[in-house]
Amino acid sequence: MEKMPRWADVLLIPLINLTIAFSISALVILAIGENPVVVVKMMVSGALGSSYGWGYTLYYATNFLFTGLAVAVAFQASLFNIGGEGQAAMGGLGVALVCLFIPFPHWAVALVFAMAGGALFGAIWALIPAYLQAKRGSHIVITTIMFNFIAASLLNYLLVNVLRPTGSMDPSSARFPETTHLPTFHDMLTPFGINFSKAAPVNISLLIGLVMAVAVYFLLWRTRLGYEIRSFGKNQSASVYAGISITKITIVAMMISGGIAGMMAINNTMGESERLIMNSVEGAGFIGIAVALMGRNHPFGVLLAALLFGFLYQGGGEVSLWTKIPRELIIVVQALVIMFTGALDNMVRMPVERAFIRAAKRRKAS
């Protein structure tokens, strides 16, 4: 059987998919009476035209890097983790508890503990759906959706009734102490004489995110566990025959996924808001699905996709300031990316594959 060349699989098809998704987005913009070219220009200048824009772009990209990696790890085991939103929200709770109740001497120590706290809470929130899938056969997609809602209600309760400081009307926790404040790019780059915007929230978490991407790569392609996860994702019955435990891989892969999602909270909760607020995740868990699909569940692809979505998110915010187009434009783009790179992948893949095979046959014949 003839096959498509590898470059077509990893590059050409995703590019065609994205082109379709973005073309339809442009049509949507036209349909509501705005000019897509002007919108794109506005996005570029808003997201990349200043260190302030870059700072927000990279801040959002950090969030999406974490959630994208989380979804990708689960996808590699052919588990669809829609629960990134709830896991990241619970991660925020873990980070907040660590930052509020342990007195830290220095932010570096606080960061290590906060990462552990966020990852632990996120992993536990993924553990229950994973256990139910592995042991009771209940569908992980449904249970992770339910756990998103349960997490939202739980956090709502905790913020209103437990963590809210007395006398405050705002449903959010107290501010974290000074020693847990993470250095932003402004703080990190000033010693080198680079003047980076002070207002932009991008912080050291981005570097942690990059380390996590490398770690996920090593986990998946350089360790025995990673091999087991990928083989489980490709063919379950063959993996069982090879002695891989379904229960173990389902639970471990989901806990890693939930842990990475939970760790996102060092960026938004510890790095940006510096207290736990209501709805702190702001849909980043869901954007992780688009990021993972677009990045083909590979850490490097996820990184590129996270940067693109960071750009879209910040650019979209700018566009909403100056035109009648609301922020929700990004949700439309996100939906179309998920649709065309995920569900409608075959629509592009089948004809492209046929074209390549026909070309190969013709070459052979001549």
């Binding site: 009734n161 949700i331 569900a343």
Partner: protein, 321 residues
């Protein structure tokens, strides 16, 4: 608690259960045909928007109804295209459609009305109004039955009665017609249906169409019956609660009525009493809001009897060559 306030809670439960019931039956047809439908939420939202939006622009609820149905059926068709024709991942398609609805409604709403995603409030001609059943006033003096008739049974909008009728109708279609038998078979063993010379693809698209119409009614009721206008994200997770109710109901129409009424009752109670005092222990309102989801997880865990989904659910059908 007196009879009247109990009746008012039940009355409000029926209203709140109606969109859930429509959406739950939509999911039932879809999943019984072997297509997972995570996209109920998006279909509710898009039909709510188009029904209210078009009703405002044209001044007619009936044009709004058609627009709402068209929006929902279009989304259903996209789901069919992805999951039947192109054999894509049904869950991913559903998720994408949910986002598409939540983005498009605000985008178009802002372009049409400039109210931050809201539609203007609907006037009476632009919405479904409560129907007073005959003799409701004159019978209200009759003890027990009178108030039940007046408060609970009478005074709902047309769509509430349509939803209640849809339950026996769905049961009849699924269990007493040839189409229903084939539809259920396609969700259990599509290969067998194909062998019998019946098109799996046509049946599944038919299921998508029915699901689109039912889910559209859920959204239309939400925006033009229960409420008077569209609000940003007004579906508020109802599509997911309907999905939960579907599992709760074990994919059966009459059980779906029971499950959605139960979830409607929970919502009505949570709306009426913010915090419930159980002899010193206060049940927080957030717990009541999370209860449908918690109950679904417990059901899924198989603690209260197993819920077994249709066997071919979620798998695209590939014809043998």
């Amino acid at each position: 608690m007196d009879l009247l306030s109990i009746l008012q809670i039940f009355d409000s439960a029926v209203r709140l259960a109606t969109p859930l019931l429509f959406a739950c039956l939509a999911g039932l047809f879809s999943e019984r045909a072997g297509i997972f439908d995570i996209g109920l939420e998006g279909k509710i939202l898009i039909s709510a928007f188009f029904s209210a939006g078009v009703a405002v622009l044209t001044g007619s609820i009936w044009l709004g109804l058609i627009a709402g149905l068209a929006g929902s059926v279009l989304f259903s068709a996209m789901h069919g295209l992805a999951s039947i024709t192109f054999r894509g991942n049904q869950l991913i398609s559903g998720v994408a459609l949910n986002f598409l609805a939540s983005g498009l409604t605000v985008l178009i709403g802002e372009a049409w009305f400039g109210l931050g995603g809201r539609s203007p409030g609907l006037k009476n001609a632009e919405r479904f109004l409560p129907i007073e059943l005959p003799f409701a006033e004159s019978l209200s003096g009759v003890p027990i039955f009178g108030p039940i008739y007046k408060e609970l049974i009478s005074g709902h909008t047309l769509l509430v009665y349509v939803a209640l009728l849809a339950v026996p109708l769905s049961w009849f279609v699924l269990y007493r017609t040839r189409f229903g038998l084939r539809l259920r078979a396609v969700g259990e063993n599509p290969a067998a249906v194909d062998t019998a010379g019946i098109s799996v693809i046509k049946l599944r698209y038919a299921a998508m169409l029915i699901a689109g119409i039912l889910c559209g009614l859920a959204g239309i009721y939400l925006a033009t019956g229960l409420g008077a206008g569209f609000g940003k994200e007004m579906s508020a997770g109802r599509g997911y609660i309907a999905l939960a109710a579907l599992i709760f109901a074990k994919w059966r129409p009459w059980y779906a009525l029971g499950a959605t009424m139960l979830f409607g009752l929970l919502e009505a109670v949570a709306n009426r009493y913010q915090n419930i005092d159980l002899g010193g222990f206060i049940v927080p309102v957030q717990f009541m809001q999370a209860l449908p989801y918690i109950m679904t997880v417990i059901i899924l865990a198989g603690i209260v009897g197993a819920a077994i989904p249709p066997r071919a659910g979620g798998q695209p059908y590939v014809k043998e060559r």
